[in-house]
Symmetry: C2
DNA sequence: ATTAATTTTTAGTCTTATCTAAATTTATGT
DNA sequence: ACATAAATTTAGATAAGACTAAAAATTAAT
Protein backbone atom coordinates (compact mmCIF):
# COMPACT_ATOMS: atom_id res chain seq x y z
CA UNK A 1 0.00 0.00 0.00
CA UNK A 2 1.40 3.36 -1.01
CA UNK A 3 1.66 6.35 1.25
CA UNK A 4 0.08 9.67 0.45
CA UNK A 5 3.50 11.13 -0.34
CA UNK A 6 4.34 8.31 -2.74
CA UNK A 7 1.04 8.73 -4.56
CA UNK A 8 1.61 12.45 -4.90
CA UNK A 9 5.05 11.95 -6.39
CA UNK A 10 3.71 9.46 -8.92
CA UNK A 11 0.97 11.90 -9.85
CA UNK A 12 3.49 14.72 -10.32
CA UNK A 13 5.66 12.55 -12.57
CA UNK A 14 2.54 11.50 -14.47
CA UNK A 15 1.50 15.08 -15.15
CA UNK A 16 4.99 16.28 -16.02
CA UNK A 17 5.96 13.25 -18.05
CA UNK A 18 2.98 13.12 -20.40
CA UNK A 19 1.41 10.11 -18.70
CA UNK A 20 4.58 8.12 -18.25
CA UNK A 21 6.07 8.42 -21.70
CA UNK A 22 9.07 10.62 -20.97
CA UNK A 23 11.63 11.08 -18.23
CA UNK A 24 11.10 13.91 -15.77
CA UNK A 25 13.91 15.85 -14.12
CA UNK A 26 14.39 15.99 -10.39
CA UNK A 27 14.12 19.75 -10.41
CA UNK A 28 10.87 19.72 -12.36
CA UNK A 29 9.34 17.33 -9.85
CA UNK A 30 10.63 19.47 -6.99
CA UNK A 31 8.97 22.54 -8.45
CA UNK A 32 5.68 20.77 -9.10
CA UNK A 33 5.63 19.33 -5.60
CA UNK A 34 6.75 22.55 -3.91
CA UNK A 35 9.64 20.75 -2.28
CA UNK A 36 13.43 20.47 -2.62
CA UNK A 37 15.38 18.49 -5.18
CA UNK A 38 17.11 16.49 -2.47
CA UNK A 39 13.77 15.28 -1.15
CA UNK A 40 12.81 14.26 -4.66
CA UNK A 41 15.97 12.20 -5.09
CA UNK A 42 15.20 10.30 -1.89
CA UNK A 43 11.66 9.58 -2.97
CA UNK A 44 12.35 8.52 -6.54
CA UNK A 45 14.96 6.09 -5.25
CA UNK A 46 12.28 4.61 -3.06
CA UNK A 47 9.79 4.45 -5.91
CA UNK A 48 12.45 2.83 -8.11
CA UNK A 49 12.95 0.17 -5.41
CA UNK A 50 9.26 -0.62 -5.76
CA UNK A 51 9.49 -0.71 -9.56
CA UNK A 52 7.10 2.18 -9.96
CA UNK A 53 9.63 4.39 -11.74
CA UNK A 54 12.80 3.86 -13.69
CA UNK A 55 15.58 5.90 -12.19
CA UNK A 56 19.10 6.46 -13.44
CA UNK A 57 21.29 8.81 -11.46
CA UNK A 58 21.33 12.32 -12.92
CA UNK A 59 18.79 11.23 -15.55
CA UNK A 60 15.47 11.86 -13.83
CA UNK A 61 12.59 9.44 -13.44
CA UNK A 62 10.06 7.82 -15.74
CA UNK A 63 6.98 5.88 -14.73
CA UNK A 64 6.92 2.13 -15.26
CA UNK A 65 3.63 0.69 -16.42
CA UNK A 66 2.84 -0.22 -12.80
CA UNK A 67 3.62 3.34 -11.73
CA UNK A 68 1.57 4.77 -14.56
CA UNK A 69 -1.40 2.66 -13.58
CA UNK A 70 -1.31 3.88 -10.02
CA UNK A 71 -0.84 7.52 -11.03
CA UNK A 72 -3.72 7.27 -13.49
CA UNK A 73 -5.94 5.79 -10.81
CA UNK A 74 -5.16 8.71 -8.49
CA UNK A 75 -6.00 11.16 -11.28
CA UNK A 76 -9.15 9.18 -12.04
CA UNK A 77 -10.25 9.48 -8.43
CA UNK A 78 -9.40 13.17 -8.31
CA UNK A 79 -11.49 13.95 -11.37
CA UNK A 80 -14.43 11.77 -10.42
CA UNK A 81 -14.60 13.47 -7.03
CA UNK A 82 -14.51 16.84 -8.75
CA UNK A 83 -17.51 15.86 -10.81
CA UNK A 84 -19.31 14.76 -7.65
CA UNK A 85 -18.56 18.01 -5.87
CA UNK A 86 -19.82 20.15 -8.74
CA UNK A 87 -22.82 18.10 -9.79
CA UNK A 88 -24.15 17.08 -6.41
CA UNK A 89 -22.67 19.29 -3.71
CA UNK A 90 -22.97 22.69 -5.40
CA UNK A 91 -19.25 23.40 -5.58
CA UNK A 92 -18.07 25.73 -8.31
CA UNK A 93 -15.24 24.68 -10.60
CA UNK A 94 -12.77 26.94 -8.84
CA UNK A 95 -13.43 25.35 -5.44
CA UNK A 96 -13.04 21.66 -6.15
CA UNK A 97 -9.32 21.19 -6.52
CA UNK A 98 -8.26 21.48 -2.90
CA UNK A 99 -10.86 19.02 -1.66
CA UNK A 100 -10.25 16.59 -4.50
CA UNK A 101 -6.56 16.62 -3.58
CA UNK A 102 -7.60 14.99 -0.34
CA UNK A 103 -10.32 12.71 -1.66
CA UNK A 104 -8.08 11.25 -4.36
CA UNK A 105 -6.16 9.32 -1.72
CA UNK A 106 -9.11 7.41 -0.28
CA UNK A 107 -8.47 3.73 -0.83
CA UNK A 108 -11.43 1.60 -1.86
CA UNK A 109 -11.99 -0.06 -5.20
CA UNK A 110 -15.67 -0.35 -4.51
CA UNK A 111 -15.99 3.28 -3.54
CA UNK A 112 -14.56 4.59 -6.76
CA UNK A 113 -16.42 2.17 -8.99
CA UNK A 114 -19.73 2.94 -7.31
CA UNK A 115 -19.01 6.65 -7.44
CA UNK A 116 -18.29 6.33 -11.16
CA UNK A 117 -21.64 4.60 -11.66
CA UNK A 118 -23.48 7.10 -9.45
CA UNK A 119 -22.10 9.91 -11.61
CA UNK A 120 -23.16 7.98 -14.72
CA UNK A 121 -19.64 7.33 -15.98
CA UNK A 122 -18.50 10.86 -16.78
CA UNK A 123 -15.70 11.21 -19.31
CA UNK A 124 -14.48 14.67 -18.30
CA UNK A 125 -14.07 16.62 -15.10
CA UNK A 126 -15.52 20.12 -14.50
CA UNK A 127 -12.44 21.71 -16.13
CA UNK A 128 -12.79 19.63 -19.27
CA UNK A 129 -9.94 17.27 -18.41
CA UNK A 130 -10.48 13.63 -19.38
CA UNK A 131 -11.09 11.02 -16.70
CA UNK A 132 -8.89 7.91 -17.06
CA UNK A 133 -10.83 4.64 -17.16
CA UNK A 134 -10.26 1.71 -14.78
CA UNK A 135 -7.23 0.66 -16.79
CA UNK A 136 -5.72 4.11 -16.82
CA UNK A 137 -6.61 4.78 -20.45
CA UNK A 138 -7.59 8.33 -21.34
CA UNK A 139 -9.52 9.20 -24.43
CA UNK A 140 -7.73 11.75 -26.56
CA UNK A 141 -9.61 14.80 -27.71
CA UNK A 142 -8.77 17.16 -30.54
CA UNK A 143 -8.87 20.29 -28.46
CA UNK A 144 -6.65 23.27 -29.32
CA UNK A 145 -5.78 26.50 -27.55
CA UNK A 146 -8.04 29.42 -28.34
CA UNK A 147 -4.93 31.34 -29.44
CA UNK A 148 -4.67 28.94 -32.41
CA UNK A 149 -8.07 29.89 -33.80
CA UNK A 150 -8.13 32.17 -36.86
CA UNK A 151 -10.13 35.36 -37.25
CA UNK A 152 -13.79 34.89 -38.09
CA UNK A 153 -13.74 31.27 -36.93
CA UNK A 154 -16.13 29.90 -34.31
CA UNK A 155 -15.40 27.30 -31.65
CA UNK A 156 -16.64 25.90 -28.36
CA UNK A 157 -14.92 26.05 -24.99
CA UNK A 158 -13.99 22.50 -23.94
CA UNK A 159 -11.37 22.92 -21.24
CA UNK A 160 -8.83 25.05 -19.39
CA UNK A 161 -5.08 24.73 -19.29
CA UNK A 162 -4.67 26.91 -16.20
CA UNK A 163 -7.17 25.71 -13.64
CA UNK A 164 -6.24 28.19 -10.94
CA UNK A 165 -9.07 29.66 -8.98
CA UNK A 166 -8.19 33.13 -10.29
CA UNK A 167 -8.50 32.15 -13.92
CA UNK A 168 -11.69 30.18 -13.37
CA UNK A 169 -13.28 33.10 -11.57
CA UNK A 170 -12.27 35.37 -14.45
CA UNK A 171 -14.08 33.02 -16.84
CA UNK A 172 -17.14 32.91 -14.57
CA UNK A 173 -17.24 36.69 -14.52
CA UNK A 174 -17.35 36.76 -18.30
CA UNK A 175 -19.89 33.93 -18.47
CA UNK A 176 -17.51 31.54 -20.16
CA UNK A 177 -18.07 27.91 -19.17
CA UNK A 178 -17.52 24.51 -20.76
CA UNK A 179 -19.76 24.38 -23.83
CA UNK A 180 -19.84 28.14 -24.36
CA UNK A 181 -19.70 29.14 -28.05
CA UNK A 182 -16.98 31.62 -28.95
CA UNK A 183 -16.30 33.47 -32.19
CA UNK A 184 -12.99 35.21 -32.93
CA UNK A 185 -13.93 38.64 -34.27
CA UNK A 186 -10.39 39.96 -34.58
CA UNK A 187 -6.80 39.37 -33.49
CA UNK A 188 -4.34 42.11 -32.61
CA UNK A 189 -0.85 41.11 -33.70
CA UNK A 190 0.84 43.70 -31.52
CA UNK A 191 0.02 42.12 -28.16
CA UNK A 192 -1.72 38.99 -29.41
CA UNK A 193 -4.96 40.01 -27.76
CA UNK A 194 -8.28 39.04 -29.32
CA UNK A 195 -11.80 40.28 -29.56
CA UNK A 196 -14.34 37.51 -29.17
CA UNK A 197 -18.05 37.32 -29.55
CA UNK A 198 -19.49 35.61 -26.49
CA UNK A 199 -23.23 35.43 -25.85
CA UNK A 200 -23.81 37.90 -28.69
CA UNK A 201 -21.51 40.47 -27.10
CA UNK A 202 -17.92 41.45 -27.86
CA UNK A 203 -15.23 40.64 -25.32
CA UNK A 204 -11.59 41.62 -25.46
CA UNK A 205 -9.17 39.08 -24.02
CA UNK A 206 -5.41 39.04 -23.59
CA UNK A 207 -2.93 36.46 -24.82
CA UNK A 208 -2.76 34.98 -21.32
CA UNK A 209 -6.42 34.09 -21.56
CA UNK A 210 -6.37 32.72 -25.12
CA UNK A 211 -3.34 30.61 -24.23
CA UNK A 212 -5.13 28.96 -21.34
CA UNK A 213 -8.48 28.12 -22.84
CA UNK A 214 -8.98 24.93 -24.85
CA UNK A 215 -11.57 24.94 -27.60
CA UNK A 216 -12.92 22.64 -30.28
CA UNK A 217 -13.73 23.94 -33.75
CA UNK B 1 -4.57 21.93 11.75
CA UNK B 2 -4.58 18.53 13.36
CA UNK B 3 -2.85 15.47 12.00
CA UNK B 4 -4.69 12.28 11.23
CA UNK B 5 -3.14 10.63 14.27
CA UNK B 6 -4.24 13.44 16.56
CA UNK B 7 -7.80 13.26 15.27
CA UNK B 8 -7.87 9.53 15.81
CA UNK B 9 -6.71 9.86 19.40
CA UNK B 10 -9.37 12.48 20.12
CA UNK B 11 -11.99 10.22 18.60
CA UNK B 12 -10.84 7.27 20.72
CA UNK B 13 -10.99 9.36 23.88
CA UNK B 14 -14.42 10.63 22.83
CA UNK B 15 -15.81 7.13 22.39
CA UNK B 16 -14.24 5.74 25.55
CA UNK B 17 -14.98 8.73 27.71
CA UNK B 18 -18.67 9.09 26.98
CA UNK B 19 -18.25 12.14 24.79
CA UNK B 20 -15.72 13.92 26.92
CA UNK B 21 -17.39 13.63 30.30
CA UNK B 22 -15.00 11.24 32.01
CA UNK B 23 -11.27 10.57 32.14
CA UNK B 24 -9.92 7.71 30.07
CA UNK B 25 -6.93 5.58 31.04
CA UNK B 26 -3.81 5.36 28.94
CA UNK B 27 -4.21 1.61 28.60
CA UNK B 28 -7.81 1.87 27.45
CA UNK B 29 -6.80 4.30 24.74
CA UNK B 30 -3.91 2.04 23.75
CA UNK B 31 -6.24 -0.91 23.34
CA UNK B 32 -8.81 1.07 21.36
CA UNK B 33 -6.12 2.47 19.07
CA UNK B 34 -4.27 -0.83 18.70
CA UNK B 35 -1.07 0.77 19.89
CA UNK B 36 1.17 0.83 22.96
CA UNK B 37 0.61 2.73 26.19
CA UNK B 38 3.90 4.58 25.79
CA UNK B 39 2.78 5.96 22.46
CA UNK B 40 -0.45 7.09 24.05
CA UNK B 41 1.39 8.95 26.78
CA UNK B 42 3.40 10.83 24.16
CA UNK B 43 0.32 11.77 22.22
CA UNK B 44 -1.87 12.86 25.11
CA UNK B 45 0.94 15.10 26.29
CA UNK B 46 0.94 16.69 22.88
CA UNK B 47 -2.84 17.06 22.88
CA UNK B 48 -2.68 18.56 26.37
CA UNK B 49 -0.17 21.13 25.05
CA UNK B 50 -2.80 22.14 22.53
CA UNK B 51 -5.51 22.30 25.19
CA UNK B 52 -7.53 19.56 23.58
CA UNK B 53 -7.34 17.23 26.57
CA UNK B 54 -6.70 17.63 30.26
CA UNK B 55 -3.87 15.38 31.31
CA UNK B 56 -2.55 14.64 34.79
CA UNK B 57 0.27 12.13 35.03
CA UNK B 58 -0.97 8.65 35.94
CA UNK B 59 -4.57 9.93 35.77
CA UNK B 60 -5.47 9.47 32.12
CA UNK B 61 -6.94 12.05 29.78
CA UNK B 62 -10.25 13.87 29.44
CA UNK B 63 -11.40 15.97 26.51
CA UNK B 64 -11.64 19.72 26.93
CA UNK B 65 -14.57 21.38 25.25
CA UNK B 66 -12.33 22.26 22.31
CA UNK B 67 -11.19 18.64 22.07
CA UNK B 68 -14.74 17.40 22.34
CA UNK B 69 -15.84 19.65 19.55
CA UNK B 70 -13.16 18.35 17.21
CA UNK B 71 -13.83 14.72 18.14
CA UNK B 72 -17.55 15.19 17.58
CA UNK B 73 -16.91 16.74 14.20
CA UNK B 74 -14.82 13.74 13.18
CA UNK B 75 -17.60 11.41 14.31
CA UNK B 76 -20.13 13.58 12.50
CA UNK B 77 -18.14 13.26 9.29
CA UNK B 78 -17.71 9.52 9.75
CA UNK B 79 -21.43 8.94 10.17
CA UNK B 80 -22.52 11.27 7.38
CA UNK B 81 -20.18 9.50 4.98
CA UNK B 82 -21.60 6.16 6.11
CA UNK B 83 -25.08 7.38 5.21
CA UNK B 84 -23.83 8.50 1.82
CA UNK B 85 -22.18 5.17 1.11
CA UNK B 86 -25.27 3.17 2.01
CA UNK B 87 -27.92 5.41 0.51
CA UNK B 88 -26.19 6.43 -2.69
CA UNK B 89 -23.33 4.05 -3.43
CA UNK B 90 -25.00 0.72 -2.62
CA UNK B 91 -22.72 -0.17 0.26
CA UNK B 92 -24.14 -2.51 2.89
CA UNK B 93 -23.94 -1.58 6.56
CA UNK B 94 -21.11 -4.02 7.19
CA UNK B 95 -18.89 -2.47 4.50
CA UNK B 96 -18.97 1.21 5.36
CA UNK B 97 -16.76 1.47 8.41
CA UNK B 98 -13.37 1.03 6.82
CA UNK B 99 -14.01 3.60 4.11
CA UNK B 100 -15.62 6.07 6.51
CA UNK B 101 -12.49 5.80 8.68
CA UNK B 102 -10.64 7.41 5.80
CA UNK B 103 -13.29 9.87 4.69
CA UNK B 104 -13.77 11.26 8.20
CA UNK B 105 -10.41 13.01 7.94
CA UNK B 106 -11.16 15.05 4.83
CA UNK B 107 -10.93 18.69 5.77
CA UNK B 108 -13.52 21.02 4.28
CA UNK B 109 -16.33 22.80 6.09
CA UNK B 110 -18.21 23.28 2.88
CA UNK B 111 -17.88 19.65 1.90
CA UNK B 112 -19.44 18.35 5.06
CA UNK B 113 -22.20 20.93 5.19
CA UNK B 114 -23.15 20.30 1.58
CA UNK B 115 -22.99 16.56 2.12
CA UNK B 116 -25.30 16.95 5.12
CA UNK B 117 -27.78 18.89 2.97
CA UNK B 118 -27.45 16.43 0.07
CA UNK B 119 -28.34 13.61 2.46
CA UNK B 120 -31.26 15.68 3.77
CA UNK B 121 -29.87 16.14 7.24
CA UNK B 122 -29.92 12.58 8.54
CA UNK B 123 -30.02 12.12 12.31
CA UNK B 124 -28.65 8.58 12.47
CA UNK B 125 -26.08 6.51 10.59
CA UNK B 126 -26.77 3.09 9.04
CA UNK B 127 -26.07 1.38 12.37
CA UNK B 128 -28.54 3.54 14.24
CA UNK B 129 -25.88 5.72 15.87
CA UNK B 130 -26.76 9.40 16.22
CA UNK B 131 -25.01 11.98 14.05
CA UNK B 132 -23.65 14.95 16.02
CA UNK B 133 -24.82 18.33 14.71
CA UNK B 134 -22.48 21.15 13.65
CA UNK B 135 -21.95 22.09 17.28
CA UNK B 136 -21.18 18.56 18.34
CA UNK B 137 -24.53 18.03 20.04
CA UNK B 138 -26.03 14.56 19.81
CA UNK B 139 -29.69 13.90 20.36
CA UNK B 140 -30.24 11.32 23.06
CA UNK B 141 -32.50 8.41 22.32
CA UNK B 142 -34.21 6.09 24.75
CA UNK B 143 -32.86 2.92 23.21
CA UNK B 144 -32.24 -0.12 25.36
CA UNK B 145 -30.52 -3.45 24.81
CA UNK B 146 -32.76 -6.25 23.56
CA UNK B 147 -31.64 -8.30 26.55
CA UNK B 148 -33.54 -5.85 28.78
CA UNK B 149 -36.88 -6.57 27.14
CA UNK B 150 -39.35 -8.75 29.04
CA UNK B 151 -41.12 -11.82 27.71
CA UNK B 152 -44.14 -11.11 25.54
CA UNK B 153 -43.03 -7.54 24.90
CA UNK B 154 -42.58 -6.10 21.42
CA UNK B 155 -39.98 -3.64 20.26
CA UNK B 156 -38.24 -2.25 17.20
CA UNK B 157 -34.58 -2.60 16.27
CA UNK B 158 -32.98 0.88 16.35
CA UNK B 159 -29.24 0.23 16.52
CA UNK B 160 -26.32 -2.08 17.17
CA UNK B 161 -23.74 -1.98 19.91
CA UNK B 162 -21.29 -4.25 18.13
CA UNK B 163 -20.96 -2.97 14.58
CA UNK B 164 -18.45 -5.57 13.45
CA UNK B 165 -18.92 -6.93 9.99
CA UNK B 166 -19.53 -10.40 11.43
CA UNK B 167 -22.41 -9.31 13.62
CA UNK B 168 -23.97 -7.17 10.90
CA UNK B 169 -23.84 -10.06 8.44
CA UNK B 170 -25.45 -12.30 11.05
CA UNK B 171 -28.30 -9.80 11.32
CA UNK B 172 -28.62 -9.57 7.54
CA UNK B 173 -28.85 -13.35 7.34
CA UNK B 174 -31.76 -13.31 9.74
CA UNK B 175 -33.38 -10.33 8.03
CA UNK B 176 -32.96 -8.03 10.99
CA UNK B 177 -32.40 -4.41 10.00
CA UNK B 178 -33.03 -1.02 11.55
CA UNK B 179 -36.79 -0.68 11.89
CA UNK B 180 -37.46 -4.41 12.10
CA UNK B 181 -40.17 -5.33 14.60
CA UNK B 182 -39.20 -7.92 17.19
CA UNK B 183 -41.29 -9.73 19.80
CA UNK B 184 -39.76 -11.62 22.71
CA UNK B 185 -41.57 -14.95 22.81
CA UNK B 186 -39.55 -16.48 25.63
CA UNK B 187 -36.33 -16.10 27.63
CA UNK B 188 -34.19 -18.98 28.84
CA UNK B 189 -32.67 -18.13 32.21
CA UNK B 190 -30.06 -20.91 31.97
CA UNK B 191 -28.00 -19.35 29.18
CA UNK B 192 -29.91 -16.10 28.77
CA UNK B 193 -30.87 -16.99 25.23
CA UNK B 194 -34.18 -15.80 23.77
CA UNK B 195 -36.74 -16.85 21.27
CA UNK B 196 -37.97 -13.95 19.17
CA UNK B 197 -40.69 -13.54 16.64
CA UNK B 198 -39.24 -11.84 13.57
CA UNK B 199 -41.22 -11.47 10.34
CA UNK B 200 -43.86 -13.81 11.73
CA UNK B 201 -41.30 -16.55 12.34
CA UNK B 202 -39.57 -17.72 15.50
CA UNK B 203 -35.85 -17.12 15.88
CA UNK B 204 -33.60 -18.30 18.68
CA UNK B 205 -30.80 -15.92 19.61
CA UNK B 206 -27.99 -16.11 22.15
CA UNK B 207 -27.14 -13.64 24.88
CA UNK B 208 -24.32 -12.28 22.73
CA UNK B 209 -26.87 -11.18 20.19
CA UNK B 210 -29.43 -9.71 22.61
CA UNK B 211 -26.64 -7.80 24.34
CA UNK B 212 -25.56 -6.14 21.13
CA UNK B 213 -28.85 -5.05 19.64
CA UNK B 214 -30.49 -1.80 20.65
CA UNK B 215 -34.29 -1.61 20.54
CA UNK B 216 -37.03 0.84 21.34
CA UNK B 217 -40.25 -0.29 22.99
C1' DA C 1 38.76 21.08 -24.36
C1' DT C 2 38.57 23.31 -20.17
C1' DT C 3 36.16 26.18 -17.26
C1' DA C 4 31.89 27.84 -15.46
C1' DA C 5 27.13 27.23 -14.45
C1' DT C 6 23.54 24.25 -13.48
C1' DT C 7 21.55 20.14 -11.90
C1' DT C 8 21.55 16.28 -9.03
C1' DT C 9 23.09 13.58 -5.33
C1' DT C 10 25.02 12.67 -0.78
C1' DA C 11 25.56 13.36 4.06
C1' DG C 12 23.80 14.76 8.09
C1' DT C 13 19.80 16.82 10.81
C1' DC C 14 14.91 17.48 12.13
C1' DT C 15 10.00 16.26 13.20
C1' DT C 16 6.20 13.09 13.87
C1' DA C 17 4.65 9.02 15.46
C1' DT C 18 5.81 4.81 16.61
C1' DC C 19 8.33 0.98 19.39
C1' DT C 20 10.98 -1.68 23.39
C1' DA C 21 12.88 -1.82 27.77
C1' DA C 22 13.50 0.13 32.08
C1' DA C 23 11.95 3.03 35.78
C1' DT C 24 8.33 4.97 38.42
C1' DT C 25 3.85 5.57 40.39
C1' DT C 26 -0.53 3.82 41.78
C1' DA C 27 -3.45 0.04 43.18
C1' DT C 28 -4.17 -4.40 45.52
C1' DG C 29 -4.01 -8.23 48.80
C1' DT C 30 -3.19 -10.05 52.99
C1' DA D 1 1.26 -1.41 56.28
C1' DC D 2 4.01 -3.33 53.18
C1' DA D 3 5.11 -6.25 49.37
C1' DT D 4 3.74 -7.16 44.97
C1' DA D 5 1.13 -6.53 40.84
C1' DA D 6 -0.55 -3.53 37.45
C1' DA D 7 -0.57 0.70 35.08
C1' DT D 8 1.91 4.55 33.46
C1' DT D 9 5.79 7.20 32.22
C1' DT D 10 10.58 7.95 30.72
C1' DA D 11 14.54 7.11 27.92
C1' DG D 12 16.46 5.78 23.89
C1' DA D 13 15.73 3.87 18.92
C1' DT D 14 13.60 3.58 14.52
C1' DA D 15 11.31 4.84 10.06
C1' DA D 16 9.25 8.18 6.85
C1' DG D 17 9.67 12.30 4.79
C1' DA D 18 11.35 16.62 4.78
C1' DC D 19 15.39 20.15 5.00
C1' DT D 20 20.35 22.47 4.47
C1' DA D 21 24.86 22.47 2.96
C1' DA D 22 28.41 20.40 0.52
C1' DA D 23 30.06 17.28 -3.09
C1' DA D 24 29.69 15.28 -7.59
C1' DA D 25 28.06 14.88 -12.24
C1' DT D 26 26.25 16.95 -16.26
C1' DT D 27 25.58 20.67 -19.47
C1' DA D 28 26.81 24.93 -21.58
C1' DA D 29 30.09 28.49 -23.08
C1' DT D 30 33.96 30.16 -24.79
Amino acid sequence: MLSLAEENYLKAIYHLGKFGTISVSTNAIAEQMQTKASSVTDMIKKLAEKDLVIYKRYQGAKLTSAGNKIAASVVRKHRLWEVFLVEHLSFSWDEVHEVAEQLEHIKSEKLINQLDAFLEFPTHDPHGDPIPDKNGQIQKTDKVLLSQIDEAESCMCVGVKDSSSEFLKYLDKHKIALGTELKVLSKESFDESMILEVHQKPLSISKVVSNNLFVKK
